[in-house]
Symmetry: C3
Subunit: 444 residues, 3 copies
């Protein structure tokens, strides 16, 4: 079976949102609710959609007082809501494979399961570093603001522990002039780098300095999140820069400037070799009430349609023919898989298609992805897999779902006569680990 | 087999376009053409697309003189056009299960089949109420203009017959300022309710009064049809209201006012508990020649892309966190299943996803629906099934296609290891009847 | 097996881009690189996407000096890039079925295979006319600019050879006012036809004259390529015509005029019976560097979303109810299959849906096409198959992939109970050849 050949390969996790503090401090995870419910927006958004208040789930500031045992009980009592979702697949995997728990979640078993998980978490073998090793993680990339001091990464590096946890350069906060704290961020950037941010040239210099720091700390990639994709090469960016810096820019100024800065980032990637990730098409924090009471990233992010062909035009026409540059595109708009992403990645030397992202990182989502990208882009223009998670415990589960999906897809291709077993076995290795290593420049 | 467990459950039909006069009068259906061809836009649109004039099919005013036997003959002679369509599946079911006719339709059998159906229709057991009972319909909702006097519903209620036929409040005619008869409709609304429509407040009062009347008549839901979805909370709606009322509003006024009124309707739903249905994205009556000669709803309605995320933003941010409110979304743009509807329904407490609508209410459409909504929205954020038909005879056939689709989907999920047989059996019950009852507040 | 029943039917190729010179001159194809690599944008775009310079592949002016043996070696050495793509399926078919070569392509076998193919090409049985006959091509349509003198078609007709090679009228160059050589083209059109192009009426007369010439030369269809679809009936087209003719029109003028001319073309099709093809939604030549160095059609064409419902509105409302008119719609935006094209073709008498186009002409693309169009449009509103290729050698391979896809689809329909074997066998014949003959008015 193709799956057997890749099941136990090391995990390459080149993009995600784990907290580096876990591995720096290596303290035990506190309790089952903090582990499985509170940090998992897939989980609490589903519960919220069925009328359960977020405060009862211990989420955000408003939920700080919630009793973790009660939170876990609510979760277990509503386990049926997750039927048919990847969350259920992932959590079943964690319970069975990582925790060794046999009971099925329900209101009746909630307390016993809570105790069992708690008992595991108290053991040394369930501390972050031990799990990292047990999970056979070759490398784990975190996602870090451009202004982050990467203190935890430093601490990990200096600790002597061999686990490879690297940062990713995420500069949205210093590129997006519509961010309310943009000016504050620039002031901080000036302080950190010593560059003179009075001019656009000094601003570029400061960004370069931060990239150098991230590279020194092991980063191999940048990451950019954008709602409406629109790139443009400004002939005099300093004009808009000055307006945005002084808070007198318009929404359109910010949009145009961000689109220009994406091109600058791509040009810097040519210089320093950082792989560039573009995640486009998410409306963030669409529920104002939830945003105000609980904060960002509370399950109210909703995808919209994306126009990749026209949105990337200016950027690609400036840097796209460079075969040493790597730009990975991630979409939440599956109608662009076959219509735009596969044709674009099948032409431009710099492009690779990222794996199914977020809501589409699921068994059926993986099947749709392969069905719609491979015929035009082939396999070698794909970027392998990302787990993209802040739920550390679910990482092996997510890679397992991907590897099963890869095996199913390749078995189907053999059936259809596309190629034989030997090619399929080679492609399985590629899709499980090698394409990700290659796309992110991660030498094992 | 999962299908066996749900095949004979009662039919819950919470949204459709049957004529309540049928059940009020309970007179026999007139002839096979009036039963199977003339009221079924799926049927005559296909025939028209292959060059058959609508007048030859007895459709609309221009077709009044057509001989029903000849109409049926044309239909039977072109039966091959329906190969691969759900219309063929539905009509075969009606012929076989409801009519007990074994012959296959063709030019050769047309006359004999016509006579056989006619002979059935003359029997008391084929009158509307008898069929309603034979079909095991638990409840049937019609769709009725806000100004409708619901006389047939009154007649049904007073007749002593036990069949449950309830109205649905469809206020488009009194909300849409671009409707040529908007002003006339408001005048009629004033007369009916006795409210003073000189001001926006009186207008709201009148709408509330009509909703009260519909609720008294058994309604549990409203229905709203919209081409381009766009909601907005107006700070002073009276200004636009006055312009629209006096016929001096612009197209944009009408669009903005309609978007505002959707929010008002949602707010009234919080008060009176009516489930709100939004059917978005159909360009109605796109063929001007057909519209002028034959009237509305003549098969020339064509879907367009819908932007649910931004279109619902103002409405959801005003009422969406209310867990007692039910808003059901219906789309003709399948690219929004996974991109927008499932993520939205998987977050907002008020939202449920309506079943595959219109052109997508078909075996492959049902499969695509489950494939694309379940992983993100789960099953409990779905609204079960609607037949949404004006072809009464086809109701059992349509529910049967859905139930087969449900069984196939769930069997596939078992195969993929998503869950076991017992969960599947429970979900089958939910999808066949219980979710529809719940979404529409229909206690059996 | 359904496939066996259609595998050996004659090939009807009503739309494609073969060079008529091949059949006029009937000289041997020069070498394997010229045959399989240089003219196939599917092939060289994939190689380019993985960093291989186009000049090394012998492409365009910049590649003229490339040694064909080296070009072929690069191609063979990168054969793994094509795993999972239809290009690989097609080329394997050509190698095996047409060339009788057993070796698999690789760096190791490149030279030997090159020699084997070269040896075949030197034989008379591998000349264009012999292959045309061996391929059992009933008719092959080329695509020709409105100003083309069709000299090669004349030569073929006068040669006494029985192969049917017909032109297709492609007037974009004389309709699109944004084309830099539009004015030059009009001058040439005036010279060719002797019409006075000083007025819009004379311009229409000249277009009619060219259509007459193409019809005399055997054409049965026109073809129109459009990026953003938008039709509009201008009340006074002469105003814009004059501006465009003198180079003083705006981009918007050109767009509106083109949309108007599509309607004029449809009206002329009613007169002269030419089937009208509309290929919409491709951004052409999006890579400026490649365009400047290598020319047009170098693999940088990228699809975008299309709005068929609103884009075709003016045209359809002017001519769409004509049942003798044939308009075939081709999309690169698969989200429009079920949302727009199938509903439109299932209503308007003039419309047929073209087969999966370009990036979607593939096994999975064909499956998605049937899955999404048949339930609403049926089979009789489809236009059969086009190979749409400039890679002559691949024609049998492409029709074979389609026929296998047809057989698989129909077998699936039988399994699902949609219809029985006898209907399926009939539909297979229709889809393999008869619908194409009918849509293009090609009497065998």
């Amino acid at each position: 079976m193709l799956y057997q050949g890749i099941r136990d390969l090391p995990i390459v996790s080149p993009h995600g949102h784990c907290d580096p503090a876990w591995f720096a401090r290596n303290t035990a995870f506190s309790n089952p609710a903090d582990l499985l419910v509170k940090p998992d927006h897939y989980v609490f958004r589903m519960l919220y959609s069925q009328g359960i208040p977020l405060e009862d789930l211990g989420v955000g500031v408003a939920g700080q007082e919630a009793d973790p045992r009660k939170v876990f009980h609510i979760f277990a009592a509503h386990w049926h809501l997750f039927l048919g979702t990847p969350s259920r697949v992932w959590i079943e995997y964690v319970m069975r494979e990582t925790m060794g728990i046999k009971a099925e979640l329900s209101a009746e078993t909630a307390d016993a399961v809570y105790d069992q998980i708690s008992e595991r978490l108290a053991q040394d073998t369930y501390r972050p570093r031990a799990l990292f090793e047990r999970f056979n993680i070759e490398v784990l990339a975190t996602t870090d603001a451009a202004l982050d001091d990467l203190a935890y990464h430093v601490q990990i590096n200096e600790s002597g522990w061999q686990g490879r946890v690297i940062p990713t350069f995420r500069p949205d906060g210093v590129l997006d002039g519509s961010d309310p704290v943009f000016a504050t961020n620039l002031a901080e950037l000036e302080t950190q780098t010593g560059c003179d941010l009075g001019s656009y040239d000094g601003y570029l210099m400061a960004l370069r300095a931060r990239r150098v720091f991230f590279v020194e700390m092991g980063a191999t990639a940048t990451d950019h999140g954008v709602k409406v994709l629109q790139t443009e090469w400004l002939s005099d960016p300093n004009i808009i820069y000055q307006r945005l810096k002084t808070g007198t820019g318009t929404v359109q100024d910010a949009q145009r400037f961000y689109g220009h800065m994406l091109i600058e980032m791509a040009q810097m990637s040519i210089e320093d070799g950082l792989t560039m990730q573009i995640h486009a098409g998410a409306c963030r924090n669409t529920n104002a009430v939830v945003m105000n009471r609980f904060g960002r990233d509370m399950g109210a992010d909703i995808p919209i349609a994306v126009d990749w062909a026209r949105g990337m035009d200016a950027l690609l026409n400036r840097v796209g023919n460079n075969a040493d540059l790597r730009i990975l595109l991630f979409t939440l708009d599956e109608s662009t898989y076959a219509r735009e992403l596969a044709p674009m990645a099948g032409h431009w030397p710099c492009l690779r298609i990222g794996p199914p992202w977020w809501f589409h990182d699921s068994p059926a989502g993986i099947e749709r992805y392969f069905n719609q990208v491979v015929e035009t882009a082939g396999y070698y223009n794909l970027a392998g897999f990302n787990d993209d998670t802040r739920a550390f415990m679910s990482i092996p589960a997510r890679h397992d779902v991907w590897r099963r999906g890869v095996a199913l897809h390749l078995a189907g291709q053999i059936d259809k006569g596309y190629f034989g077993r030997s090619d399929a076995e080679h492609l399985a290795q590629l899709l499980a680990v090698e394409l990700a290593r290659d796309a992110y420049g991660l030498i094992p």
